[in-house]
């Protein structure tokens, strides 16, 4: 009984802790971007997580559902907000790196692997509940796509303005 209660709450605890840590790290970093750019980066992460969760969770795909029910609710909204700072951190670290021709490729691959590891933790915490044969590995192309889109944003909106 106690274990079931803990399992029920573990996803919410995961979302609160991860989200709070991510926002604290983002706010503690020295400012590198304009306020408009910061808002857009937060929105990119929130939008992409909401988009994929509300696309892969619907019939006939039904590959997984987030948190406790198949219809998105309050904690699903919180999980979208939790993702907010990750595009910011992704772009922030990349913008201060010394780059060569292969940097973006290696950087995206490393972030995709870290994202898979984070998804494994979220799955253990009960944030994601897979069904219809979906496996965690299937998320890899989605992460590669999402990170590439964020990189395109950096090069077309931030890097171009800096030059």
């Amino acid at each position: 009984m106690i274990d079931n209660d803990l399992l029920f709450h573990s996803n919410e605890v995961f979302i609160i802790i991860t989200g709070a840590l991510a926002y604290i790290v983002m706010l503690r970093l020295p400012k590198q971007f304009t306020r408009q750019q910061t808002i857009i980066m937060l929105l990119i992460s929130i939008y992409l997580s909401a988009l994929f969760d509300n696309t892969l969770c619907v019939h006939p795909f039904n590959f997984y559902y987030v948190n406790n029910t198949s219809i998105p609710g309050f904690w699903d909204l919180m999980s979208y907000l939790m993702f907010g700072p990750f595009a910011y951190l992704f772009v922030y670290i990349y913008s201060i790196l010394k780059k060569n021709r292969a940097t973006y490729f290696i950087y995206i691959v490393v972030w995709a692997i870290v994202a898979l590891f984070a998804e494994a933790l979220a799955w253990h915490a009960g944030v994601y509940r897979y069904q219809n044969g979906y496996q965690m590995f299937f998320s890899l192309p989605i992460y590669l796509l999402v990170l590439t889109v964020t990189m395109i944003y950096y090069y077309s909106y931030i890097h171009n303005q800096e030059e």
């Binding site: 400012k31 590198q32 971007f33 304009t34 306020r35 408009q36 750019q37 808002i39 857009i40 929105l43 990119i44 929130i46 939008y47 909401a50 988009l51 509300n54 696309t55 969770c57 619907v58 019939h59 006939p60 795909f61 039904n62 198949s70 219809i71 998105p72 909204l77 944003y153 909106y157």
Partner: protein, 154 residues
């Protein structure tokens, strides 16, 4: 068949956005696309709940889902960008014409084919109220976003 029509609508709306005179900056376009998409995704959760729960009584096909996803992800947000660009052109008659035409198009589109736009049918009055509220919300967000500009201290 309707999925093909939806793809044509998507193509038309994207190309309409390319050809119209712009009153928004590149950053504002991206911001508006993101907030309008998020608003639409979240507000369509309840009307489209049959798709989320996989209701066996609800007879839908992959075509229904793909048309719904195309409308939700591309057509509606891009049409929002088109109308906001035109509304902000500062010519009164263009603002009135664009505002009323946008509302009319959204209403007709959602009322004629609810299966591919909102999944379950919604009354005309509720839809009208939703779209007026949606546009007011989007324009207020845009104003807020523009206010951030002079405060910049990177």
């Amino acid at each position: 068949m309707f999925f093909a029509v939806t793809l044509c609508f998507a193509w038309i709306s994207v190309n309409l956005l390319i050809i119209i005179p712009k009153s928004l900056t590149k950053d504002e376009h991206l911001f508006l696309f993101l907030v309008s998409s998020l608003t639409i995704i979240l507000s369509l959760i309840l009307p489209a709940k049959h798709l989320y729960i996989g209701d066996p009584d609800f007879k839908d096909t992959i075509q229904t889902t793909l048309a719904f996803l195309t409308n939700r992800t591309i057509v509606f947000p891009v049409l929002t960008l088109v109308s906001v660009n035109l509304i902000l052109l500062r010519k009164f008659w263009i603002q009135v014409l664009t505002g009323s035409t946008s509302l009319f198009i959204f209403l007709i589109y959602c009322l004629l084919e609810p299966k591919y736009t909102t999944i379950s049918s919604i009354g005309a009055g509720q839809l009208l109220l939703y779209f007026v509220g949606y546009y007011v919300f989007i324009i207020l967000l845009l104003r807020g976003f523009r206010l951030l500009h002079p405060l910049e201290d990177p």
